[in-house]
């Protein structure tokens, strides 16, 4: 449907265009702007009334003037979806970026997405092996979970995300993941890094990419993740794929949200971010999960960089309130040269309990994980004490724990970028062998029955 073109722009402010119009325009309707030089921009209605319409322009309002023609397209934003999305690279507005043909739509899907009925969800409980010990042992990921990476600038979160994308699999199943990758405002260099890696490993053929780079329009970032998630939902719930959605960087997304809020002169919430940012983020993150009667699933790995390494900043804070845990990347570990520099102490997987144990990973997993956590936490605390009082002041137990914290970082956390450890031999057995550095009498979190069965030097068999 192509309606008539209006030339009734009254104000232009930041990414917003205000116009007076004649006929009724729908809330959320898609808008096309034709500039005096003939070039086109796209937008969406944010507010509509008989007298005035506010349009958010995705490509920004540079060169828009009062002569710009505005056409309302009579529909909300839709993405053409089909299985043909797999293997394609699209831009941040959903147009081919790889030189390939337009996507032949099997369906035109509304990108806002509807909420999954909580009654129709199924609890995620299938263990995903990432092959990274820190994650598999301590912050176990399950299929259908949303587990963000809380990182900061200059840290290797992209390597970790890629390693997960390459290695993620279900044990005892040959179901594969398709990756939907969504870039929001990342640099061309970061983007190339992703694409080259996906190409190198052949994963690109099994991926759909939605790309908005740092020099692409900022407002467009507000739709890019919605396109990616719409594609993910289609692949998961119409074609039974298990989809792993990686999106980076949520911080850029939130900055765009703030920009729109400011242009609308909304009353800001904390630190200038809109009061509705929680709800807005939830509309993305909650699009993860498993639903009854569908074979596929959506697992989300949002990446965000914490401004000033501050976990209480609204972006990580509101994310943490919505997601099912977080993986925290540590600058300190990175500076020590440890890859992956995952600090397991503030990291958490809330769905871990459902995904581990007998028949899923191994019966001793919970015990081992609790013990690693406790020993490492105490060891790290002792480091602080030793700095003041010296090692001489420590008793035998504390000395062992102190030593263990280094062993844990250097042998358990540390692994190479292409090292894919299995949960049993690779990760849990490794944990046991490292725990031999501590006397069993100090290993109070380990059930005796697991010591009897798995402890390399104490086991009874």
């Amino acid at each position: 449907m192509s309606g008539k073109e209006y030339r009734t722009i009254t104000d232009v402010k930041g990414p917003l265009v205000f116009l007076e119009k004649t006929e009724p325009v729908a809330f959320g309707e898609i808008v096309q702007l034709r500039l005096s030089d003939g070039s086109m921009k796209n937008g969406q209605v944010l507010d509509t009334s008989d007298d005035r319409v506010i349009v958010q322009v995705f490509e920004g309002t540079a060169s828009v003037d009062k002569q710009t023609g505005v056409k309302f397209l009579g529909d909300v934003f839709r993405l053409p979806v089909s299985k043909g999305l797999i293997g394609r690279i699209l831009d941040g507005a959903g147009k081919p970026r790889d030189g390939g043909p337009e996507i032949v739509a099997e369906e035109m899907a509304d990108i806002i997405g509807a909420a999954i009925n909580p009654y129709s969800r199924e609890s995620p409980e299938q263990f995903i092996q990432t092959g990274i010990s820190a994650i598999d042992a301590c912050t176990t990921l399950v299929r259908g979970q949303k587990l963000p990476i809380f990182s900061a600038s200059g840290l290797p979160h992209n390597d970790i995300a890629l390693q997960i994308a390459r290695q993620a699999k279900l044990v005892d199943s040959d179901d594969d993941f398709v990756v939907v990758f969504c870039a929001m405002g990342i640099t061309a260099e970061e983007y190339n890094f992703f694409v080259h890696d996906l190409e190198r490993t052949g994963a690109l053929e099994n991926a759909a990419l939605f790309v908005n780079l740092a020099d692409d329009p900022a407002v467009e970032r507000l739709i890019t993740p919605r396109l990616a998630l719409t594609a993910a939902e289609y692949l998961a719930f119409e074609h039974d794929y298990h989809v792993l959605v990686i999106y980076t960087d949520m911080t850029n997304y939130c900055e765009s949200l703030r920009q729109i809020g400011a242009a609308r002169e909304e009353v800001p919430g904390r630190r200038g971010y809109p009061g509705y940012m929680y709800t807005d983020l939830a509309m993305l993150y909650e699009r993860a999960g498993i639903v009854k009667g569908k074979k596929g699933s959506i697992t989300q790995f949002p990446i965000l960089t914490m401004p000033g390494d501050d976990i209480t900043h609204p972006i990580p804070d509101l994310s943490g309130y919505i997601t099912e845990g977080q993986i925290v990347i540590s600058r300190e570990l990175h500076q020590k040269g440890i890859y992956p520099p995952i600090n397991v102490l503030p990291s958490l997987s809330r769905l871990m309990n459902a995904g581990i144990g007998e028949g899923k990973t191994r019966e001793d997993h919970k015990s081992v994980s609790d013990q690693l956590y406790a020993a490492y936490a105490q060891g790290r605390e002792l480091r602080g004490l030793v700095a003041i009082v010296g090692e001489d002041a420590l008793n035998e137990r504390d000395l062992q724990l102190l030593k263990f914290s280094d062993i844990f970082e250097n042998q358990f956390l540390r692994q190479s970028r292409d090292e894919d450890r299995s949960i049993t031999e690779g990760t849990l057995d490794l944990a046991w062998s490292l725990l031999t550095n501590i006397d069993t009498k100090y290993l109070v979190r380990l059930d005796q029955k697991w010591i009897d069965k798995y402890h390399p030097t104490e086991r009874k068999s």
């Binding site: 909300v76 129709s120 259908g144 009061g275 509705y276 709800t279 309130y321």
Partner: protein, 580 residues
């Protein structure tokens, strides 16, 4: 255009402005060609401002708005229990049946099944004098809960006719002499508290089976509690523990703007969990409201009212009801979002100026009351609060703390140490112990309050000693203070820590809690004696029977065994003197 219907003038997110219509405040209207449900929240000259409970994209100015004459109400009657609703009482199961797994819009669903037949047993007879709140008959709603059908408030007279038998909930089962017809179902506007005769001061504890809550910071039946805490500190786990194990007869659980998977978890878990008080599945006494973070914010705003109205209705039957709202911060944010669309003058951090009065009105609907029928009923309200950055100086936390009588403060540091429940024992408080102490003396032990005082002062002393330890190390302390530290450690690790996911540890009866607390004090006394008699601190701390006593709490039958384990510990501690 008649007064009954008008036109949309403006749409801004969930807020729609209509002209040509003069509805009442809080009247429900139908918005747009699809007839989406909305509620009038402001009248402004010739404009009516409406919050719409469904997604508004695609709606245009000029589409119709139609009055219904009703205010936002819930349907009350048999069938509420075991249900899961959205914020405006649409059963999620029915929505799935009509829309599939994604919630689209424009679908109505009755809060109660209007066709289902229930066995109604009259409990009054023709000629009996009844009035609002009088019970006229009962329905066995679930295996464990008897639904008491009441005369709707505002009616009274003599029973002219009444009939037992199988009926659906809209069929008249009783008439009064003034012609009033009464069915099993009634409706009530959610924003109006249901009436009662008077409020009593709460004097009976709501027993939750959670040691730190019951023993140190108890909540009374009919009381109010707030649980603030940063993300991942344990608000939801605590609320779910209360929903599972508290000794209320009815539980209303509101998932307000939180995760979908958490509601799924409750749905899949509760039918299999056995209520320790009835021996039957917990689901039998539970109603859930799930308006998750990605569902429409206006319905999120309404969800707490829907929940508390259902809670009051069961209270009016004479039941003790416990209501959990997770999270009230998301409710407050919904108010903020709508308020900002209304372009109201913002208060602190963009919240509307009426935030604190709305919070107060909500918690005020809790209480232990004399019902219209003359019985005793209660609604206890437990609200989670999610302060940004974990900092409770913000408006929602502060507004809540001004009203609630119990503060369970979750602490990020404790959660990071995996000390669960991560409730900070130094900053938390309850204002109820005084009112409850007589009950504890009569029902648990005559020295219960004194034992509690000893335990909490040990924790206070520990905090003071820790400051010294930080400076000089614990070895520098005199031995009696070192013992105090050990006793306090035992309180923390053995008593305060409680694993919600452990089959046995998840619940402790009040008797067991008291016995465990006494056991700690016994350890203290016996150790003092032994040390005075020449034993070393390490000796008494390391007696094997103490480890057995502490580990025993993870085993079935601990209540029966603890006495014996304690005796053994005392014997071994006394033994440490002889060795020296």
């Amino acid at each position: 255009m008649s007064e009954e219907s008008g036109l949309i003038y403006r749409i801004s997110g969930p807020v729609v402005t209509a002209v040509g219509i003069s509805p009442r405040m809080y009247e429900v209207v139908r918005v747009g060609d699809e007839g989406l449900m909305g509620e009038v929240i402001e009248l402004h000259g010739d404009q009516s401002v409406i919050q719409v409970y469904e997604e508004t994209s695609g709606i245009k100015p000029g589409e119709p708005v139609v009055r219904t004459g009703q205010t936002l109400s819930v349907k009350l009657g048999p069938g509420l229990l075991t249900q899961i609703y959205d914020g405006i009482q649409r059963p999620l199961e029915d929505l799935e049946a009509t829309m599939g797994v994604f919630i689209t819009r424009g679908v109505d669903a009755d809060g109660l099944d209007l066709l289902k037949k229930w066995e109604f047993n009259a409990t009054v007879s023709v000629g009996d004098e009844v009035s609002g709140g009088s019970v006229i008959g009962i329905v066995q709603e679930t295996e464990t809960v008897e639904h008491r059908v009441m005369v709707p408030p505002g009616n009274s007279g003599k029973i002219a006719s009444i009939e037992s038998g199988e009926f659906n909930i809209t069929t008249t089962v009783c008439t009064l002499d003034d012609g009033t017809e009464i069915a099993m179902m009634q409706e009530w506007p959610v924003r109006t508290p249901r009436p009662f005769v008077q409020k009593y001061a709460p004097d009976v504890p709501l027993v939750t089976g959670q040691r730190i809550l019951d023993f140190l910071f108890p909540l009374a039946k009919g009381g109010t509690a707030g649980i603030p805490g940063p993300f991942g500190s344990g608000k939801t786990v605590t609320q779910q523990q209360l929903a599972k194990w508290s000794d209320a007869q009815i539980v209303v659980y509101i998932g307000c703007g939180e995760r979908g998977n958490e509601m799924t978890e409750v749905l899949s878990e509760f039918p299999h969990l056995i209520d320790p008080n009835t021996g039957k599945p917990l689901m039998n006494r539970t109603t859930m409201i799930a308006n998750t973070s990605n569902m429409p914010v206006a319905a999120r705003e309404a969800s707490v009212y829907t929940g508390i109205t259902i809670a009051e209705y069961f209270r009016d039957m004479g039941y003790d009801v416990a209501l959990m709202a997770d999270s009230t911060s998301r409710w407050a944010e919904a108010m903020r979002e709508i308020s900002s669309r209304l372009e109201e003058m913002p208060g602190e951090e963009g919240y509307p100026a009426y935030l604190s009065s709305r919070l107060a009105e909500f918690y005020e609907r809790a209480g232990r009351v004399q019902t219209l029928a003359g019985d005793d009923g209660s609604v206890s309200v437990i609200g989670a609060v999610s302060p940004p950055g974990g900092d409770i100086s913000e408006p929602v936390s502060q507004g809540t703390l001004r009203i609630v009588k119990v503060f369970w403060g979750l602490d990020a540091g404790l959660a990071r140490q995996r000390h669960f429940p991560a409730i900070n024992w130094l900053s938390s408080y309850s204002l109820y112990p005084q009112a409850l102490d007589q009950w504890y003396r009569d029902n648990i032990a005559s020295d219960y309050p004194e034992v509690r005082t000893k335990i909490s002062s040990l924790l206070q002393v520990e905090a003071e000693l820790q400051e010294i330890v930080q400076l000089v190390g614990s070895d520098a302390l005199p031995i009696d203070q070192q013992l105090t530290l050990e006793v306090a450690r035992m309180i923390r690790e053995f008593f305060l820590q409680q694993n919600a996911f452990h089959d046995v540890d998840t619940f402790s009866s009040l008797n067991l809690q008291y016995t465990m607390a006494k056991a700690i004090l016994t350890f203290q006394e016996e150790s003092e004696k032994a040390i005075a008699g020449g034993a070393g601190l390490e000796d008494v701390v390391n007696v094997p029977a103490r480890t057995d006593l502490m580990r025993g709490r993870f085993e079935q039958g601990y209540s029966e065994r603890i006495g014996e384990l304690l005796g053994e510990m005392s014997k071994q501690i006394a033994g440490t003197m002889e060795e020296n």
